[in-house]
């Protein structure tokens, strides 16, 4: 059975606008899923490029988040540090459909080599 391309991570209502939630990945990096005040959803690896602070716990404003450890401002769209800081955190494509949030599966958990071979 082929895996669905998108990973369903539950209803949009589970994250209040202006907040974020976390999704640990076994064998991978924890993901932070953000819901902005304007209703958009974004997902990033939950690690600030500066000192690995949990971005999920930062204040969300516009489409950026301010890291709780040292106030680096990170773009939710690109994962890039904004202002004078330099660094980037990986982003994960998100889509919302019929009230549910989906993450692009291959960006969350890269398929094991065998799977890739079969897909190719």
């Amino acid at each position: 059975m082929m895996q669905a391309k998108w990973l369903d991570i539950g209803p949009v209502t589970q994250i209040e606008p202006g907040m974020a939630a976390t999704l640990p990945v076994i064998g991978g990096e924890e993901i932070a899923v953000f819901h902005t005040m304007r209703g958009e959803f974004y997902a990033l690896v939950n690690k600030c490029p500066h000192k690995q602070g949990p971005l999920s716990q930062g204040i969300v404003h516009g489409d950026s988040v301010t890291c709780p450890l040292h106030n680096w401002k990170i773009s939710l769209r690109s994962g890039q540090a904004l202002g004078d800081d330099v660094g980037c955190v990986p982003t994960i494509p998100v889509k919302v459909d019929a009230g549910r949030i989906y993450l692009l599966r291959e960006a969350v958990v890269p398929p094991p080599p065998a799977q890739q071979a079969r897909a190719a």
């Binding site: 539950g10 589970q14 064998g27 716990q57 930062g58 204040i59 404003h61």
Partner: protein
Amino acid sequence: MNAPTNFDKANPILGTLREKLVVIGNGMAGCRAVEEILARDPDRYSITIFGAEPRVNYNRIMLSPVLAGEKSFDEIVLNTAEWYADNGIELVAGDPVDHIDRERSVVVARSGRVEPYDKLLIATGSEPFVIPVPGRDLPGVVTFRDLDDVEKMLAAADGGGNAVVIGGGLLGLEAAHGLSLRGMSATVVHLMPTLMERQLDEAAGWLLKTELERRGQTILTGADTEEILERDGHVCGVRLRDGREIPADIVVMAVGIRPSTRLAKTAGLECERGILVDDHMVTSDPAILAVGECVEHRGQCYGLVAPLWEMCRALADHLTGQPSGYTGSVTSTKLKVSGIDVFSAGDFIGGDDHEDIVMRDAARGVYKRVILKDNRIVGAVLYGDTADGSWYFDLLKKQEDVSGIRDGLIFGQAFAMGGGAFADPNAAVAALSDDAEICGCNGVSKGKVVATIEAGAHSLDAVRSQCKASASCGSCTHLVESLLALTLGDGVEVGAKTLCKCTSFTHDDVRRLILDKELKAIPQVMQELHWTTPDGCASCRPALNYYLLCAWPGEYEDDQKSRFVNERLHANIQKDGTYSVVPRMWGGITNPAELRAIADVVEKYNAPMVKVTGGQRIDIFGIRKEDLPAVWADLNAAGMVSGHAYGKALRTVKTCVGSEWCRFGTQDSTGLGVKIERMTWGSWMPHKFKIAVSGCPRNCAEATIKDFGVVCVDSGYELHVGGNGGMKVRATDPLCKVATEEEALEHCAAFIQLYREDAHYLERTAPWIERKGIEWVRAQLFDDPQAVKRLAARFRYSQKFMQDDPWARRAAGERRDLHSHLATVRPATEYA
């Protein structure tokens, strides 16, 4: 009511030579596609249209005016029975297609009728999304998609009563408006905190909500429907997740739509959210095309009418052998509620490389925001004044470079295009006459502002304080700044630091205006004070949250999303992302039960370190956010509450043992420390606040480097303020000496309240006192003999709402979402 026309009879010779086109869907997309094809090549196809509704094609987007009583059904019919007849089209209305048989190239209708096709066009549109709550199937629960729905709503409205509309998007608000015009009392239940959040940003959504409420509708945002309630077999109300119940004689479900893909999916056509089509609207089967709301083109599904026209053009070009291609649409929205002007177009979310131009005019209730990227408009949100919506939309669609008119862009077409001189705002201001009014709030003319500047007011602040221009609502700030630039050139002095980059107001301005204008919510402050960003930043949000909390105790609801993580999670974040937990120990006193509970927590949760703090408390390190509520439950069980070691709040009251044990002690310093801590715990402050009580002038509790310190002497209590042991050590200033514990408590409360009401957010007492002067502090407290009493009373009133242990609420299950993960992804099982 099948149209009786048989095309083959009408055109007996050509008929048999024509290709057969079958259209599934007699709506706006299906009919428009046919019209476009006929306009290009009327003789090419023999056409049959299947429609699920038993009527001709009408303009679905005009159902709202029909509901509101502004139009009749006849007025919104697009294609009459004659149109079908005249064009030789066979309409099969009321007999929907049941399935598509691609092997045999036929469609089969519900009645069993079989229709062969050469080309098949799917235009099934979308269907209302019905939230899966109990009671959704009850009589009296309707969607808002077709004329039958409208008729059901009108029947319900005849009886008056209550209507609940679930969904505060475009359709939901139009339904609520219509029902309320028809005499029902309408309540909108919206899951998100902002109305029309897909079209509007928070600021415009807030204005819209305020206006609808003024018109008598009830708007509940952040409201999650749990169940639709029943009485005697009919809907009688709606219950929200928070337990509120709203009576309803009719419930309209308008939470959104989704593409109707059932037919396409069962026929094995490729579908994602919608039916996948290429730029010529062809599906994964070359004989089958699809158009309208049911399709997904380049990852995009549309729920508006404009893209449909563009799709139909590309489709018709393709079907008549002159392929052009559809490349996607930029959409704009207008709310069809009479008297409320709302416009939204393109991308209003913004981004790193996007720039926002925001104009707010609080007096007229106007909010305008234009989003630029590389000097081109990519989006616009307008509220209150939408006259320039089409101009912005046009610039957006044409991707025109607006750098030449950028400075005047936000003032609209007339201003920006009104000749070269007016494209420069300074020039526009220069052209004003001397008696033109600059500041409407304070009635200040241009001549007076210029005279004030010439008399020596060389900064915005100086102008504000000397002639009051732009000192109230601030909407004329840019005009005053232009006048400063025009009058002084480079001689303009940069004024006091503003609260942050989102506003031209200082902390003091904002605090004063919150009180003067009775501003009671963050979006309201941003609107009334002309914030230049849509929802602020990480600097102003926490500051505004504190200022509102301080100004309106008991009224303002704390905004968790404007809180720094420590205050949101009631613990201190550490560099590894775990938290430290400090339970309160009143005056630094503890006992075996508390120590045992702490020891048990350390073992139970494997805390890697326990440390005694500088403020005489015990700090448990390395707790994960998921474990915090359980840790707190254990500490609560031993009688301990939050120590607020994480907050811009009262931290600790440090004490020495005093006269009860110490041979030098003059007063009961521990007893007084406990009393002070019982009075002050839980209060939010501009910054952290530390207190100490020493039992004698040896000052073992180090009271003279605290924000508020008490040094006991034989004859009473010396009170000290403004000390700091941090980065910049500062010894306290003596405030006064009092004779009794009661007076010491009263002065402590009064000083704290003065600090709470006056200091800037994130300003400790030490820099605050250096800025204001200790003489100013003494004057505030002592010039008026009633001042201490009044300030202390305000502090105690505010404390009534603050002294509620946040740990206990969380331990009981409040805001569990902040402490849990959404889920855990396990690759091993995912791929098994």
